[in-house]
Amino acid sequence: MDVETIRKDFPILNKKINGYPLIYFDNTATTQKPRQVIQAISDFYEKYNANIHRGVHRLSQEASEIYEQAHEKTAKFINSDWREVIFTKNTTESINLVAHSLDFNKGDEIVISIMEHHSNMVPWQELVKEKGIVLKIVDVKEDGSLDMEDLKSKIGKKTKLVSITHVSNVLGAVNPVKEICKLAHENQAYCLIDGAQSAPHIKVDMKRIGCDFFAFSAHKMLGPTGMGVLYGTKQALSEMGPFLTGGDMIKKVTSKEASWNDLPWKFEAGTPNIAGAAGFSAALDYLTSIGMEKIDKYERDLAKYAIERIKDAHIYGPDDRAGIISFNLKKIHAHDVAYFLDKKGIAVRSGNHCAQPLMTKMGILGTVRASFYVYNTKKEIDFMIENLDEIRRNL
């Protein structure tokens, strides 16, 4: 992996922040975009812009091809069939789609964990109110890894869905999703994996994981904002009613009723984000050309390198982690750390990272989070460490 060559593809890395070169360590929130992705989006609007699927004219057919190709590329990227790939606007919408369309009844149990992002917690809390489902929350162990014994004890005959994150956006913990799906299926439950923090960084294979649903966002993997994916098995998706209704998701409409389109279009109502799909295709090409195994290894190395060098800090999460580090300099508030790093051009996130229940469980208000991607370097980490030392000395 030639990082210097990769860096040249990212125009924003030439930007100066407060007079310093931008060091972007907020990749868990969103990633930067290579010029190939930016170009694909502007190419779409300059050369192919038309609405899809209903046009006989040439431009509409070209736009439809671009949009459908994006489904095929996504399917290939996660080892599935294109009919199992639904485009949404983000991971949150993908999870809400399942919460809305899967047939939940009073007394059904849904199992999640305390390390979930709010997006994999709040939709289920709403189902408790709306449909009387029972929400069970699996704990984390002392080191921040998922408590599998607790998970086993919470899955049972009434479990309708197990919905767990693949990689924690706070702790970097990588959960054993294959085993989790197996446990769910042994109890005739569905399994949803929140892949927002895994699909961008590690090889994800739907056949290998064996999940019924897998949700992720394009903007966290070099693609544009406003583009998300819900993978669902044909069997699970066929049993579900539509999410949003209206244009493009129908087969036949009379003045009284309508019948639904085939997969995946049944779940894509209205004009979708066609330019976003074009950009996402380019992002998938970019990641594939580097290779997901190499990306995974590179980021883990960066995280290890950083952890070995951050002194006098509380670092949260298990040793075996993806390229995400959450930490606190003793007694110094996360916002103060983030503020002074920003003065040196370093973008990190501080706060509760949309995981307030996890913060409460850990007994802290928030953390500083540095998260890495393909364009980050050890030299950048060195500069952050230097500045952490300075903050510690002066504050």
């Binding site: 996360a334 916002h335 103060d336 503020y339 509760n352």
Partner: protein
């Protein structure tokens, strides 16, 4: 680092703690990070005689709370309720991206004195 006055109040906070039998008490959280500041106040004839702040937060929110307690001693509760947010921000020194941190203490104090702050 931060301006000298802020560093001073952060390192040596004034009026930190709780008043045992306060006339007014209220707390406010920073919507951005969840930090919480509590204010307790004792008055005589509508004038603030004693005030203390308690809570956990960043250097800016802690120092701002400390500075605020010094500012309002001797003022009437009405004067405090009429205090302008912008004036307080200017007094602390406009710290880019951190106005929420500055305002936690002022909002907590206004809530304590009976203002209905909708957040």
């Amino acid at each position: 680092m931060y301006p000298e006055e802020i560093m001073d109040h952060y390192k040596n906070p004034r009026n930190q703690g709780n008043i045992q039998y306060p006339d007014y008490e209220g707390e406010h959280g920073n919507p951005v990070c969840g930090d919480l500041i509590k204010m307790s106040v004792k008055t005589r004839n509508g004038v603030i005689e004693e005030i203390k702040f308690d809570g956990e937060g960043c250097a800016i929110s802690m120092a701002s709370a400390s500075i605020l307690t010094e500012m309002v001693k001797g003022k009437t509760t009405r004067q405090v309720l009429e205090m302008d947010e912008k004036e307080f921000i200017d007094k602390i020194g406009n710290i880019q991206t951190r106005t929420q941190c500055v305002l936690v203490s002022l909002n907590a104090l206004k809530k304590a004195l009976g203002d209905d702050i909708n957040c």
